[in-house]
Symmetry: C2
Subunit: 396 residues, 2 copies
């Protein structure tokens, strides 16, 4: 027999695991927790008391009990613990108020140019947050964390964009501090593709261990899920496939200063440029999608050829990473039938047979909500984890 | 503040964690274990008793104690628990008997062609295992698991080579069963680059979270460490960079049936072929290394140019994966000065600045022992983990 068994690990009993047992409801009493974790009763009590003190869990006497001392039921306080998931796009801003189980409570979307700069965009987010709290009758203190996806490379540990090509005025701007100066909460910032990958994974494909989420819009980027977690890499910039040099392609100059980058020849912007050279009216990926929908043959051929070029880079990623599923999102995924035909053609020709054997190449299921869901989940998972760490520091 | 704190997680108290606390020596008594894990005394006793029953831990009265009931000391039984680490190369077979703390006890190396087929090679391993057990005066039952690295793609879950180009007769052969039919132990099989990556990581660079180990020998392959674990991917064949198409290179046919593969133009074999076309005597990577050492200018230029071609593919891997360290091993790493100069040149030109900023590109430290150490560690980690699972099945 090769390899370790896939059997589940025991619950163990760290504070976070105690919380997870309550959230997922195998444990509704202190006695359940002691039984499921093997922890001493005194340790369970210490951890549950801390969760109650932090307002995450409530404990109420069970009135349905008949005779004897009624057991006390433990429950996650979702109504008092919410997060904000923010999707800052090149030309829009979508915001969702989400409870800590990941359910969207309120959502707002506005047209807003990211190039207006961080103060304008983040002030807008701040105003919308207050409106949504008022609309749902929640106090500001209910917001435990904010997750934000932005359209550019982010150094995850500091929450700053690093030389983002399409975010004028945002380079090195301390995004988290805009909020942490005003409120007592944590702010997580990541690039848009990472939060989309997280949203798609947690909501639509939680059982996939190795997933690539490829966004094809104005630019091209990739979010990586490995062992069900986001892989950000050493500097937090993993997945930047837009500037990988495409094998067997023309050495078209790219705005990054190099030649032959995938983004420079296969993105929505590159397709629109090529179509307008051919005399069609197109200035964005959205226009390319509309031309395809209208049956324009040039647009259709171009989307398929872009799929092949993306396939050249994805074939390398398949050999390196051996994913189980590759999901395509971004505006060009609306014509995924044509785009993915090109991708599949090259991937199956160029990738190792073993890796390509049962590889899924599919459009995203979460559609327009991928980013707000993912940003919200980023905030929730961080809040529960940081809480876990805090508990450990106070518990002996 | 962005991101979760890097603080250590609490010990928790699963059977494996109890074992780790004993092995790493923060816990030498049952009282230590109860204190460090927060587990009930009865749970600690149950788990320690199971570890003693399985022969992994011994408990002896401490004679140095003065007065009162002497405490009982817990200790890992390294002398009765060993594994075999096997490095099957194209033309050699190196075998190490290693204790479960990862220390090599005995080692043997022989010239042996992998193309002799599985029966011949595995019978040789079996004979050498018995010799080494006799030499160290250990019974067969002391061998708890065998780890084997082979020079070809492996489906890790079944331990079978999958269409391996240089392992004649091994395709789909059930390697683990050769031993499991004879003995009561588990056998883990992985490709040579994965076990080298594991050996280099655990022994020389345990603190690196994201590492690529690139082997440049007869072929070219890559082992991936992410969050300190081997990343094998969905089918266990991640890291197969030898058949990624090289951007901006001639479309040389490759033995895999495609054109322009990295291995077809930059491997030791490809360099030797090119040198012999130029009139030099070279039939293997080893010959290329010797020509470079002798100051042959063609060989030197070729190694540097191969470094550049490898750099083209590695630049893409850096953008996708954002590693902290890239380690080079294999026979061509003996001329790493020239090889890595070419790699660094292209990686720094083509990779995202943020990802390349503090990237280390270095030769391996574990040298010829990387594979046997890694194969041994694969066996040890599996044995302790499977043991952990067994314990959980017996403990209530």
């Amino acid at each position: 027999m090769n390899a370790a068994s896939g059997a589940q690990r025991p619950a163990g009993g760290s504070p976070g695991e105690v919380l997870a047992l309550i959230r997922d409801r195998p444990a509704t009493t202190r006695a359940d927790l002691a039984r499921l974790t093997g922890l001493a009763r005194s340790t369970v009590s210490q951890r549950v008391d801390a969760l109650i003190e932090h307002g995450l869990v409530s404990e109420t006497a069970d009135r349905e009990s008949t005779g004897g001392r009624p057991p006390h039921r433990l429950r996650l306080r979702t109504e008092d613990n919410v997060v904000l998931g923010v999707d800052v796009g090149a030309t829009h801003c979508r915001i969702a108020l989400t409870d800590i189980e990941g359910t969207i409570v309120e959502v707002r979307e506005d047209q807003l140019l990211v190039s207006k700069g961080p103060e304008a965009v983040l002030s807008h987010v701040d105003r919308r947050m207050h409106e949504m709290l008022t609309a749902t009758n929640k106090p500001l203190t209910a917001v435990k964390a904010i997750g934000i996806g932005v359209p550019g490379p982010v150094e995850f540990d500091t929450g700053r964009a690093v030389r983002p090509p399409i975010m004028r005025g945002w380079d090195d701007y301390p995004i988290p501090e805009f909020f942490t100066k005003r409120y007592d909460l944590d702010v997580l910032v990541d690039n848009d593709v990472n939060v989309m990958a997280l949203g798609e994974h947690r909501i639509a494909r939680p059982d996939v261990r190795y997933l690539l989420f490829v966004k094809v819009g104005t630019g091209i980027g990739c979010g990586i899920i490995t062992e069900r977690q986001l892989h950000r890499g050493a500097q937090g910039c993993a997945g930047d496939i837009g500037h990988i040099r495409v094998p067997a392609a023309h050495d078209q100059p790219c705005h990054c200063g190099n030649r032959g980058c995938l983004e420079g020849i296969a993105s929505g912007e590159a397709m629109a440029r090529r179509l307008s050279e051919l005399g069609h009216e197109a200035s964005s990926g959205r226009d390319v999608v509309e031309l395809v929908a209208a049956g324009n043959m040039h647009a259709l051929q171009l989307v398929r050829e872009s799929g092949r070029l993306i396939g050249e880079v994805i074939a390398g990623a398949v050999n390196l990473f051996n994913p189980q599923t590759i999901v395509f999102g971004g505006v060009l995924a609306r014509v995924s039938e044509h785009l993915l035909a090109g991708v599949r053609e090259v991937v199956h020709q160029r990738s190792l047979a073993l890796a390509a054997r049962s590889l899924e190449i599919v459009p995203a299921r979460t559609a327009q909500d991928a980013a707000v869901l993912g940003a919200g989940i980023l905030a929730i998972e961080h809040y529960l984890e940081s809480h876990n760490v805090n508990l450990r520091l106070t518990a002996t």
